[in-house]
């Protein structure tokens, strides 16, 4: 830890523009860059940070325990994709946490106060603060390390606390603060306004009509619909997310599902989650608010990673209880989604797998015969709730060629795309490519062995970031959502037979 931090180009994100902080009322908005000598922190920044740590120790037992009980056994060291890709020792999860623990010891523990350096304690200085900033924006909160930790120490939670502290001083990244401000004002990260949302979807509908001859007419903001559908806004905007979105549209049309889109609750993801708990709660609120306003019975969510961690593990505490909604029941099969009975929000992979199991969909997997598919488990859906089998079931019913990657790189041991938690910016591309190396390497292996040419996933950030990762490391592999594959295979009633 004596090695001073060096901000290498390509490994960090820009500091946030002041307007984004002003729009959501966060402190210390100003023009600044992480490369500046002076970060224009308030004079009492140190007190703010220390008080912030103290407050969080009192608010969150996990954080307090994780500051105290690590024995530095090193089991986590080579589990982090950023350590594997960069070789930087401070990217070992244990050392990343030690960056903060050392300061905790100095100011909050008896041993550290008495013995200082010998007890592994150190002063909080501006250099230390910069080091925190650099390395806690090199953690994607993927939690792979916590799978191997004998105490279940969850580096993600330590990173979350660190990022909350940065936000007390206006030190968010531009790539996170921007989507947060957009989401707060317009309902989604991309800042799409209602007419843009509807026209983007109309583009997709035109494409679907051209290919299938079937005209789909979804509804927006319709009161009295049975189901509200919420998906990450990435699915509405860029390829290949839009193809996944077309898969949803085709599926719902074929089912004759009584559902509606919202142009207000138009974001399933939550960059507030990478800012602070309070911000995440504020941004998440709109989902329940809109469900209440429209009077739907329950909520169906699209393919997204951290959205599901938020929905599954946080939403009920923040914005619940959602007692104005009903326990979700599939209107097609009558299946009760028991695991969603408190949140009232179902993941589309569960919804669709249930349909296939009950024989409600006519699928022609041979339409995907040009694809050899592998599946990437997203960090959050695998380690944050355990959606492992459903997407595989959908893929296996939609495709004839499916190959798993190495067992140590999938399911609970899956590797992050290298760009989660708001690190999917452009200016930190070297970091992203290094962090994504383990994932790309496992894909390369099945590419070489089985000729895999499609990397499927159920996460909007994956769809946005894995494309770049594949282009760099394994250029002939493309990326798709699981519902894109389903859409390909879906035999629709009408003129559908002719499609190939």
């Amino acid at each position: 830890m004596e090695v001073p931090v060096e901000f290498k180009p390509g490994t960090f994100c820009y500091g946030t523009r002041p307007k984004y902080l002003e729009e959501v009322g966060l402190p210390n908005p100003r023009e600044w860059s992480p490369l500046d000598e002076d970060w224009k922190l308030p004079a009492d920044w140190k007190d703010t940070v220390l008080a912030g740590i103290g407050e969080r120790l009192k608010k969150n037992r996990a954080f307090h325990l994780f500051m105290d009980i690590c024995v530095r056994c090193g089991a986590c060291a080579d589990k982090c994709h950023f350590f594997i890709g960069s070789g930087d020792p401070k990217n070992m999860p244990v050392l990343r946490a030690e960056l903060m623990r050392s300061v905790y010891r100095k100011y909050f523990s008896t041993g550290g106060k008495l013995f200082g350096n010998l007890a592994g304690a150190r002063e909080l200085t501006f250099e230390v603060f910069k080091e925190w900033w650099y390395y806690f924006y090199q953690c994607t909160e993927c939690r792979r390390c916590s799978v191997f930790c004998p105490y279940g120490i969850d580096t993600a939670e330590i990173t979350m606390m660190a990022r909350e502290l940065f936000n007390l001083l206006g030190c968010n990244t531009d790539w996170i603060a921007g989507p947060v401000a957009n989401c707060y004002r317009k309902g989604n990260h991309l800042g799409l306004e209602p007419h843009t949302i509807t026209s983007n979807i109309e583009f997709m509908l035109d494409d679907i009509e051209e290919i299938t001859g079937i005209k789909i007419e979804p509804t927006f903001n319709r009161k009295g619909a049975e189901i509200l559908f919420v998906t990450p806004s990435g699915d509405l905007f860029g390829d290949p997310g839009t193809y996944t979105c077309m898969g949803y549209l085709m599926l719902f049309h074929e089912l004759g599902l009584d559902y509606t889109w919202s142009t207000y609750a138009s974001e399933g993801g939550n960059f507030g989650f990478f800012t602070s708990m309070e911000m995440a709660k504020r941004l998440n609120y709109k989902i329940y608010a809109e469900a209440k306003r429209l009077g739907v019975k329950w909520i169906l969510g699209g393919e997204c990673g951290h959205m599901w961690r938020v929905v599954h593990q946080y939403m009920d505490t923040w914005n619940g209880p959602a007692d104005f909604l009903e326990e979700p029941v599939s209107p097609i099969t009558g299946t009760k989604f028991e695991n969603a009975k408190t949140t009232k929000m179902v993941h589309i992979a569960e919804f669709t797998a249930d349909l296939i199991k009950h024989g409600k969909l006519k699928l022609d997997p041979s339409r995907n015969d040009h694809l050899k598919v592998t599946y990437h488990d997203s960090c959050n859906t695998s380690r944050g709730m355990g959606i492992l089998e459903e997407p595989r079931y959908i893929i296996n019913n939609s495709c004839n060629n499916f190959h798993e990657m190495h067992e140590d790189t999938i399911r609970e041991k899956t590797f992050c795309c290298g760009s989660g938690t708001g690190l999917n910016a452009g200016e930190n591309m070297e970091l992203r490519m290094r962090g994504g190396l383990p994932r790309a390497n496992a894909v390369k292996h099945v590419r070489d062995k089985h000729g895999v040419n499609m990397l499927a996933n159920i996460c909007a950030i994956d769809r946005a970031t894995l494309s770049a990762l594949m282009q760099y490391w394994v250029p002939d592999v493309e990326v798709s959502g699981v519902h894109e594959l389903l859409g390909n295979a879906l035999v629709m009633t009408g003129r559908e037979g002719e499609r190939d």
């Binding site: 024995v71 594997i84 799978v147 191997f148 355990g386 959606i387």
Partner: protein
């Protein structure tokens, strides 16, 4: 650096006890006062720390799940890795606390330069070493209860005779004593020889290892080599346990070294990483408890 410093600290502790007993004859200090003070520090320190932890709430149920969750009825879910009921949670916690489940999962990841290519392999040494250390430590502690009880409970006697069932030498060689020292040596050597682990190791990581090694070594020396009058030792320890302390004369200095190192460990315990013993239950419980079981 950290290792040398910690080693030096333990040597100083040994010399202190040696000088205190041999030189100054401070029997009451080393045989009564320090052990009581250490145990009081231990009990009070641990209680205060646990109270401090328990005052912070657990606002979210956010375990790391390691298997399929209970979702659709026809999908087999992982009862122990992503439990959906109290029984599963207890199971997951027991596996973790008693058998170190997560360490059993440990992998070795290597970046090979033909590519670059990543290679994965099983790596269970830390699991084995950790398990060997903790279990033999527990048995050694239980065995020692015979010094603090009269009559000695049946269970302690059983464990005692099982531990010595090889019946090598006289007194019988205790397997756990040997395993304990070997495991500690392994845990020390991996800190020195694995570059990543060496890099993250603090003096506070070596100190408990050397302290425990010192305790085990002095214990073994006392049992097999510099024999002490065991009846008098028991008189002293039983006196301590019954709050009726006394100092029988003629116990060898090696006993006081052993006792002083143990006292040091007890006093150091609440301020050190050894508190993982208390934290593991809370931490693992929190990390195993899934929302569906709430």
């Amino acid at each position: 650096m950290g290792a040398l410093l910690s080693f030096f600290v333990v040597i100083v502790l040994v010399l202190l006890a040696l000088a205190g007993i041999k030189g100054a004859g401070l029997y009451v200090l080393f045989g009564t006062v320090i052990p009581y003070a250490a145990v009081a520090t231990f009990i009070l320190g641990v209680i205060l720390r646990v109270i401090k932890w328990s005052r912070s709430p657990v606002p979210f149920h956010i375990p790391t799940t390691c298997g399929q969750e209970k979702s659709l009825p026809w999908i087999k879910y992982s009862k122990l890795e992503s439990p959906a009921g109290t029984l599963g949670v207890i199971g997951r916690m027991a596996l973790e606390v008693l058998l170190f489940r997560s360490l059993f999962r440990n992998l070795k990841t290597e970046l090979r330069n033909d590519g670059p290519r990543l290679a994965y392999g099983s790596n269970k040494w830390l699991w084995l070493g950790g398990l060997a250390f903790h279990w033999s430590m527990l048995i050694v502690i239980i065995r020692h209860l015979r010094f603090f009880t009269h009559p000695v409970p049946f269970l302690v006697k059983i464990i005692d005779s099982l531990d010595g069932f090889l019946q090598i030498g006289a007194p019988h060689l205790m397997i756990t004593g040997v395993v304990l020292l070997l495991a500690l040596t392994y845990l020390f050597l991996r800190r020195v020889f694995i570059p990543q682990v060496r890099y993250i190791s603090l003096p506070a990581d070596y100190l408990p290892l050397f302290l425990l090694m010192g305790i085990a070594t002095s214990g073994i020396l006392m049992r097999y080599f510099f024999k002490v009058d065991i009846i008098k030792v028991k008189e002293l320890t039983l006196g301590l346990a019954s709050l009726n302390p006394g100092i029988p004369s003629g116990i060898g200095v090696i006993f006081y070294i052993h006792l002083f190192l143990i006292s040091s460990l007890f006093a150091y315990f609440p301020f050190s990483k050894l508190m993982h013993m208390g934290g593991v239950f809370s931490s693992v419980l929190q990390e195993t408890w899934p929302i569906t079981a709430v």
